[in-house]
């Protein structure tokens, strides 16, 4: 039987990346809504994602279940290790999600659910960033289980990656707003995007220096010969995309900032993957060691190969139905 691990690695990588992009921009809208200057803006920001947010969040479920299917050992070690960040994320996502349903209809409590949306998005992002940081720094493992304390995942590094992800999602959210809005809100989104871009670039730089300093294996991966040359395109492309994002936010076409932000995420994502390859539980298990039975991988792969293209087509269609600029100020007033 052919080795399905590389296929599942790509598939899972794609699902997680799609989640980061899609829920990233709508969590980013929530983060930005803290700073909206008018109440009407908050309404418009939420309206711009109301028909699509629950579809975007479905990628989180699929990513989690994909990890459980393809690499159950990794799921069984990593998820308990990040028990409290996951709890925080789930509860924050609850507040943020119901805010869509509760705020339209509850005029009296509108500002309360606006706060739930903003803080829910912020804390869910922070928690995801902490999970990312904890993942990069690795876990204490004994046998087939996590053996550390549930507080191990809270380190200066993971808190920093939490803040970094806030900046990154805000950048994606600003890109989406530039695409979907016009007028005063549009101009504000371009400005907010530039602030978020600077913070994101600072964070990328800091993490790029911090990880090789913490972890000799990662330093070896990037700075040994000939990797230094072979992997050089990643930082170089990041610098070019960063420049493009800056100019796009200043005066580019409306689609450009969002595209540039997505490319920046792709490059950062590739950077992390290169640093950790081939580990799925850093310092403990490789992708192959944590893989499920070939029959398990084959069974879900069969459906995924057939259904994922169909899903991408109808999800794309639903975005197409709601294309175009948002009309600010009409609706529930």
């Amino acid at each position: 039987m052919i080795d399905l691990v590389p296929i599942w690695t790509v598939m899972l990588g794609l699902a997680v990346f799609l989640y980061v992009l899609l829920d990233g921009f709508d969590l980013g809208i929530g983060i930005l809504s803290h700073f909206a200057k008018e109440q009407a803006w908050r309404g418009a920001m939420m309206d711009s994602i109301a028909p699509i947010w629950d579809g975007n969040e479905t990628w989180l479920v699929f990513g989690g279940l994909g990890l459980l299917t393809a690499f159950p050992l990794a799921f069984a070690i990593i998820i308990p290790a990040v028990y409290f960040p996951v709890l925080l994320m789930l509860l924050a996502l609850i507040f943020r999600g119901v805010a869509f349903e509760f705020r339209y209809r509850e005029a009296a409590h509108r500002s309360l659910w606006d706060h739930a949306f903003a803080w829910g998005s912020t804390l869910a992002t922070l928690a995801q960033g902490i999970v990312l940081g904890a993942f990069i720094q690795g876990f204490a493992v004994a046998g087939r289980s996590f053996a550390g304390s549930l507080l191990d995942c809270f380190t200066p590094f993971s808190l920093f990656t939490g803040l970094a992800l806030l900046a990154g999602y805000a950048l994606l959210g600003a890109g989406w707003l530039v695409l979907k809005t016009e007028g005063e809100l549009h101009r504000w989104a371009r400005h907010a995007g530039r602030v978020a871009l600077l913070a994101t670039l600072g964070a990328i730089l800091a993490v790029s220096l911090w990880t090789p300093l913490r972890d000799p294996a990662i330093a070896q991966r990037w700075f040994s010969w000939p990797n230094l040359v072979l992997l050089a395109p990643v930082p170089v492309a990041t610098a070019i995309v960063a420049l493009w994002a800056w100019t796009a936010l200043r005066r580019g076409a409306d689609w450009m900032p969002f595209a540039a932000a997505m490319l920046l995420f792709l490059l950062s994502y590739l950077g992390i993957a290169i640093s950790l390859w081939p580990l799925i539980v850093p310092h403990a298990f490789t992708l192959w060691q944590a893989a499920s039975a070939p029959r398990t991988q084959a069974f879900l792969l069969l459906g995924t190969l057939f259904l994922l293209p169909v899903i991408l087509i109808y999800v794309g269609w639903s975005y197409w139905v709601f294309r175009g600029k948002l009309r600010v100020g009409i609706g529930y007033h």
Partner: protein, 463 residues
């Protein structure tokens, strides 16, 4: 005080799933109901069906949103609290859940946006197709999640390799012995639950007189649907019981608080089961009926709890009472449906006392769903994978009691805030009535504006 991470993890799972299951109980039924209404509107062009569909779609949206976010909690429970189960049984359970996401979650989410916000943006038949897709999604979702649950209750098609379950035959895994019964019994239960909520709300609308036409249409139509589904549900429940006797006899013995194996078993209507003394106190029994109901024979043998070692028995009192609550509600529902036939024959379907009864019974389906769920889940203890993997061996090893207590309290607080608020929001929709939500909104072409909050502007259209 010693805090047991296993018990607390069980309580946490029970808490988050009991609240979550209420939402699919309503959304599975409402999605199909809305699809029927949209179809009727497309066929007849009557505005009445559209008004009713819009009314329930607003309520559906709230339930669905809450269902999505409380549903995301569920798969993560397998990782945070039940990581041993994930490691040992992940090879079998995870693809079933994966297929739920692939075939159901994406379908529901993508087409719900169009159903809620897209009426003005797509042709009517596409809008109807979106309603069908959402309804289909809820049913696919039930299929896969109940396949996974049923496999844990009656495992099949597996082999054990190095202490882990691995798949041997996927068809046998999915269509394990209890799955067809559980699927039909649960989905029909969801339809009945939704039906009783619909007739309760319809009765209230009729008594308020302002939306009498809509209320009468809803009540009459839904009572026809219940006339089919309530008797069907009782038949399916009986079949599911026979299946449980065959495959999970200890669960069935606990449900009946039945201690000694015997032929000609009586039916225990009420008792206080005493697990220490292995007997029942204050029992009220009807002779022979137990064997008749459970085996469909007067002298059928039913195994008792004493046949099982004490550490392989489920708790008795909880499934005993929860089962009686579920069956009692089922019989009350049947009585109401039969009453509706008599009243319909006499042309008095909208008699005030009957409307009052419909209103009182509106939430009972939800109670029955929880009672049924408690029966089947407590009844399969002390196992997560029946007879093979103990609940105590399934929990994440790294957890301390304090960790789980903290997370359980957090879930309790958040759910106690979210659910009453959701109920309040839905109550507002009900009070506003079928045309009420934004009655002042412009009416274009005989159609009310869709919930316009997210209507994007098309190119060339005036802002």
């Amino acid at each position: 005080m010693h805090l047991d991470p296993v018990l607390l993890s069980r309580l946490q799972f029970a808490w988050v799933i009991a609240w979550h299951i209420l939402l699919p109980a309503v959304t599975v039924g409402l999605a199909s109901y809305i699809a029927i209404l949209e179809g009727l509107h497309l066929l007849t062009g009557r505005a009445l069906w559209l008004a009713i569909s819009g009314f329930w779609t607003r309520i559906f949206a709230v339930c669905f949103g809450m269902g999505v976010v409380t549903g995301i909690v569920m798969p993560f429970q397998f990782g945070t609290n039940w990581s041993r189960l994930s490691d040992v049984a992940g090879d079998i359970l995870s693809p079933l859940l994966g297929y739920e996401a692939l075939t159901a979650f994406f379908l529901e989410a993508a087409f719900l946006g169009v159903l809620l916000f897209g009426r003005k943006l797509v042709p009517p038949w596409v809008h109807f197709a979106a309603a069908l897709m959402v309804a289909g999604g809820t049913l696919f979702s039930s299929f896969w999640i109940l396949a996974a649950n049923s496999w844990m209750q009656t495992p099949a098609g597996y082999e054990i390799v190095d202490g882990r379950f691995e798949p041997a035959d996927w068809l046998a895994v999915v269509f394990n012995p209890s799955f067809p019964y559980r699927l039909l019994h649960t989905v029909t239960g969801f339809y009945v639950t939704t039906g009783f909520i619909v007739i309760g709300v319809a009765a209230w609308l009729i008594r308020r007189t302002r939306f009498g036409a809509e209320g009468r249409a809803m009540l009459s139509m839904t009572l026809w649907l219940l006339s089919l589904s309530v008797p069907l549900q009782i038949f399916l429940g009986d079949q599911h019981g026979l299946n449980t006797l065959e495959h999970q006899p200890a669960k069935l013995a606990a449900i009946e608080a039945h201690w000694q194996t015997e032929r000609r078993m009586p039916l225990t209507l009420f008792a206080l089961p005493d697990e220490a003394a292995e007997t029942n106190r204050y029992a009220i029994e009807l002779p022979l009926l137990g064997s008749l109901i459970l085996t469909h024979r007067l002298d059928g043998a039913v195994p008792g709890l004493e046949d099982f070692p004490r550490d392989a028995r489920p708790p008795v009192a909880i499934p005993f009472f929860s089962f009686r609550i579920m069956v009692g509600i089922g019989l009350m529902m049947l009585a109401l449906v039969v009453t509706s036939w008599i009243l319909r024959l006499r042309g008095r379907l909208f008699a005030p006392w009957f409307l009052g009864a419909c209103q009182l019974m509106a939430p009972l389906g939800l109670v029955a769903v929880i009672a049924g769920w408690v029966t089947t889940e407590v009844g399969r203890q002390p196992w997560t994978v029946y007879g093979l993997l103990r609940t105590a061996d399934s929990v994440s090893p790294a957890l301390t009691g304090g960790d789980v207590l903290l997370s359980l309290l957090a879930y309790i607080l958040v759910y106690l805030l979210i659910y009453p608020t959701g109920l309040l929001v839905m109550g507002r929709f009900v009070r506003a009535g079928p045309l009420g939500q934004d009655a002042a909104a412009p009416i274009a072409g005989g159609q009310r504006e869709a919930p316009v909050a997210a209507l994007p502007r098309r190119d060339g259209e005036a802002p």
